[in-house]
Symmetry: D2
């Protein structure tokens, strides 16, 4: 089993421990590969491959390098792949000196589950999010992600890579609902079964009181798919709704005038002076004071927003510089909007992103990798970009958002056998 | 009404006659504009605007130019816009000398209805087609379009622009079915009503024994929409089918193995060794000798091709260099395939182009502008290219071909009120 | 010239006056067409067509309708096309009652030059912008566009369509620089000459002290085109720069680390741990306090932002919910960002939009139709959307932003003959 | 090292031998994974990992299964991944009975290097090509790929999977020129270095007398990039040219009239009656008899075709149903065209595919996986489709074909240091 028994041991040695589904998740060979790439050698000291599908495997690798620097480099990279090192150093902390600024050399997070070594104990990082720093409260033995805006003087933040380990997402062997949907589903493939699998997963999540997040662009209203999204809300499959001003404006426009951006939603034809309708819709909501007030007073009688308000969906309308108006509920400060979206994420187990690149990417930035995402768009490039979250958790469909929502609502309407 | 009464008349004068819906079709101002652009002057000698929507208008314009050449140029351009000139010269003819080669200076056709002046009589050009020459039989007083391959020594062909006039398509004021669908329908618009209008038009055409042509790409099968196209055929809404080897191969593959390019059409998942299925499907048809024979012998039990064969649809399968096999019915010579497509066109009043750029463009090249075309594709660029036929006859939908065919079949299934 | 001399005059009559290049701008026939479409009749009482290219034409149309309502409708629509009515009613004004809310029935603006009739005098509307209301100060005889956020109690706002006229953009017969570039330039066309024409126009604008606005997305940096944009700034061809956080972040990342989103800008290859670079770049700027301070202190030595700061370009960095950080200069409130963009627009005569849909659409919303726009993007759908501003003022190029900027900088570098 | 020492041996056992770069090419873990997926067990009997980068590794796996069928299945799949089995069965052959039809159950090829076991000897399959059968001459101990059209009665063809092994492409550790260009290069990345690497590879290939194939669409001419392709030919970097009628027609049109599809190549503007130019160009070539004759007689003085003819490039112009004309050299029968393309492939080591989906896919079907391919297109979907050849041999660039060719010609023009 020795890579090369005759060669003299390189003087610098560490032992890497790999556990889990390290064969079929390609973790073991990835580690072997990187050791070689970085100029080291290895011996497989122990390799126990799980007999049953559900059994984890175990491997202990002795790694040899020519220098401490080389060994360090190997170990740091291997740790990113999920390897543990037999003797670890705890994290190094440094205090924030200026509000909104991290210490130089701060550890920059990924969206994967992460742990930090505090003293001799590995602690899971809370509120996992990409592109943040890790704050630590040593006394409470807690660690959590912080965005720039949340950094205040005195807050202890992790610096460097020591004592940080990232847990790779393991592909579950049981639930194949998502795993087969590797990456993107092109326009040229049948989608019925896939949508029924997504529906199944939604039922499962709801049966376990998990939350489902919908991120929706105005095309949901333009294509006449608002009724299907409303139905999903009524059936209890939407707990959180992220959108922008445009979705809400055109939804109200549809409720008040039967148009979206001046296009009649029945006929698809432009209405005379219809282009003004969205401006009049905005004005009415501003007059009423809020969407919620319009619903309460009975002036908003239909649409996605009305249904969402009535069913207690947690709504975050985030502003953008394209907005007309905007509506009173729209959060015009983008940092505040991010914070509001962030605080709605806990408990979310699936995110369904519908025909909006801006809001979908913003949402993707905030979601831990463990949240399953479904991305629907007509543009293959958008789907590819959104579905590319490096995991088995994500599926993209290149299709009409109206087709998708109609099929999904139809399947969810029927009680499962 | 004089453009400028005081100026001396330019010595070169012609009188243009414009009739029809020349105001709302923008023909009159286009002609006025070009006269000015080319340096001429004009007087509106007579302008009678039709009172009712259906009344044609009439205008006689006196055009003055500085030179015969300038006048010629104006007249030639105006004629292309549909203007007639009070005194016209008959067409000039020249005989083909070498097979497959037109005389230098041959008149190159558009797809618009065209007439040629033979002696003193305007004769409509038959088999109108873009990018061809016009052959003339003076004794029979007939004229028709000829492609390069149809030119044989001795055939008389029109040379130059004299005596040729193009009749612009007039937007019908009555039938608004197509006219409102100006150009392309984006993914972001509701499509239900549009599809029901297309269905209405199909019913109308069939009630008048007009023929409907479907041009279909393999995505029809890949997306699981084959059943809907089959249903259209069964309902009598498809008289002609243009496709390539791939549609037929994957349709047979679906019938024999339940897959298309190895993807299970139920689940959307790849089948083990499924990639070979299309090769095995091809082999089986080649073994049987033809698709028709497989249908006859009961070995091909379902699918678009089986339905088309049984319902006597005129099928043209045209080959391309991407083809595997190909199937026996595929015409491998592209010039022969064009001729076969050409001979299937007469009587066709609507062409529905489904998710195939190559075959749709080839078909578009052969169709007169009077044939209504419906282009369906997921790629906006393809729809824009195909729907851009410079007339009110063409509509493009950016959508899933499966969604489109499902909706269309559903609407046509129901008897009209 | 009577449309139908024999018919009894309809009792409701108005006289429309059309002046300018009403033939070749299609205004006359458009008005004729709409009169017929709306069920009215017309007599051309006078038509004087300009003799020379530069001469305006004049037309007086008598319009007859069956009812006052029908006549009103015709006149209102005709006025939108630029027609004047011989006897006009002044605008109707109503005061704002609630801050941020317009009176019901407010006139909603387009981006075309607009005039309002105050007393007996037509007054040009200032700060023309799409989707706003028109505020009026009667004593000062001034009118200007106001967005929702600018409405305060007591402000007088135009209600209804009476006394408002929109001046259509006339295609200049002289300057053909933009006019030939009708709409979009596809990827399949040669672009050299077009870019040299744009350069020519830029020189012309600068020679008249006009301002040029560049709207730039991060792809400018990713593709390595930042150097060319910097060169344009140095040569004095950029007075205003609109961008988002991402452009500035990746520009600083490139200056500090030689990467953009972790991709080495020389090699196009990912750098180890390079993904963190943009986070480190953000942190450094936040530490410094601002981009301007980093430039002043010599810590930012190259890049678009450094060049723009040093050359006194008016910079507006507008935030979005996708942003990491953001940088100190980024305006996180989108309504404030719009106001800042708005106040930078006066004097701008050309806007060059480079590979950013969000910022380009936001900018397009704020620009009067008289500003020439150049839109560059790899995605034909984006170009089509942005270049579709209904005028001869807009041109779109489907191409690499790097190719475009390199060529443009090369042409502008050379002194014109 | 035993997977589970205590469990009773499954009665069906085989020994798999894996050699080569099986760790970093992921072959070993892929095999381990599939054994488990198919319900078997394995023991790693021997694993020798190469010490140096260039050393191959060796692994012997004992595989146990519950049944012969299960073992068979495992072995067959493992063989596809490159595993050898200690005791192999020779291929099974069956004779073709009907011309153009393979025996049912024929082995359907991939584009990867393949070997067949004839008697006790592994023989490399010649003319490797995807979607063909393997013909065998036992006496000569030769095997080669045959397309449907090449099957004649009596020809021996491989049936089933026994005795066939596919050699996976190993990523070379030395040449990194292509390996870093994993898959597609998006529009948002710098391309200069990549193009210089491609140029380097072209020089290397030519220095070893390898052939370079260019597949070109008409956009090469439309964008004005014909001069750069001509330059590549003059510099000796193009030995084979695959194209369609359109490239040649528009190239001749450009040479004769300075236009492509009627667009002036200098200005990008349409020429009056320019649409006819391509028809006139076709007519002139048909009159001359051939492109070669036009070059010889001096009537074709410039352009890609002229340069290619003069430099003895092997040209295959393949017809399609979109073609006008076509030109005399165009092969109108698509099966004959495939055969001509096929016979030009031997010796080709790089294929550069420029802005043509039809011809590029057709070419990709014919190329062995060992040929390096460079795909250039503005449409990311096309690049993704073409570059997805499952190997490290393929690179796609989303960019202007004109930018690409200009840069490539510039780099190749300069002598390498």
């Amino acid at each position: 089993m020795s890579k090369n028994a005759k060669e003299a041991k390189a003087p610098h040695t560490a032992r890497l421990i790999l556990t889990g589904h390290i064969i079929d998740s390609m973790i073991l060979p990835s580690v072997m590969d990187l050791v070689m790439d970085l100029g080291g050698n290895f011996n497989v000291e122990e390799l126990i491959v799980g007999k049953h599908k559900t059994d984890p495997s175990f491997c202990r690798l002795e790694v040899n390098a020519e220098s401490a620097a080389q060994l360090d480099r190997i170990v740091r990279r291997a740790r990113e792949l999920g390897a543990k090192v037999e003797a670890e150093h705890p994290v190094r902390l440094e205090a924030v000196k200026k509000a909104g600024v991290f210490p130089e050399g701060f550890y920059s997070t990924s969206n994967l589950p992460t742990e930090v070594l505090l003293g001799s104990r590995w602690v899971a990082v809370e509120k996992q999010e990409m592109d943040t720093a890790i704050a630590v409260d040593e006394r409470e033995a807690r660690a959590w992600c912080v965005a720039f805006g949340q950094a205040y003087p005195g807050l202890k933040v992790v610096v460097g890579h020591a004592g940080v380990r990232v847990l790779p997402l393991e592909r579950s062997r049981q639930t194949e609902i998502f795993s087969f949907m590797a990456s993107e589903i092109s326009a040229e493939k049948p989608k019925k079964l896939l949508i029924s699998r997504i529906a199944e997963e939604m039922r499962q999540i709801r049966s376990e009181a998990g939350r489902i997040l919908v991120v929706a662009g105005p095309a949901v209203v333009h294509t006449g798919a608002g009724v299907y999204l409303s139905r999903l809300i009524e059936l209890g499959y939407v707990q959180v709704l992220f959108a922008g001003n445009a979705l809400a404006v055109h939804d109200v426009e549809a409720a008040l005038f039967g148009t979206a951006l001046g296009i009649n939603l029945e006929s698809g034809l432009p209405i005379e002076h219809g282009h003004e309708h969205h401006m009049r819709a905005i004005n009415r909501v501003r007059q009423a004071g809020s969407l919620a007030e319009m619903v309460r007073s009975g002036h908003l009688k239909s649409g996605v927003m009305k249904t969402a308000v009535e069913h207690g969906v947690e709504i975050v309308l985030a502003g953008s510089i394209r907005d007309d108006g905007p509506l009173p509920e729209v959060i015009t400060d983008v940092v505040e909007a991010q914070d509001r979206m962030r605080s709605a994420v806990p408990g979310v187990r699936m995110a369904i992103m519908l025909a909006t690149m801006l809001h979908s990417i913003a949402t993707g930035n905030l979601l831990p990798a463990t949240v399953r995402t479904v991305c629907v768009d007509m543009n293959p490039a958008v789907v590819t970009k959104l579905a590319d979250r490096g995991s088995w958790q994500s599926v993209g469909l290149v299709t009409d958002v109206e087709s998708f929502l109609r099929e999904l609502a139809t399947v969810l309407e029927v009680q499962p056998s």
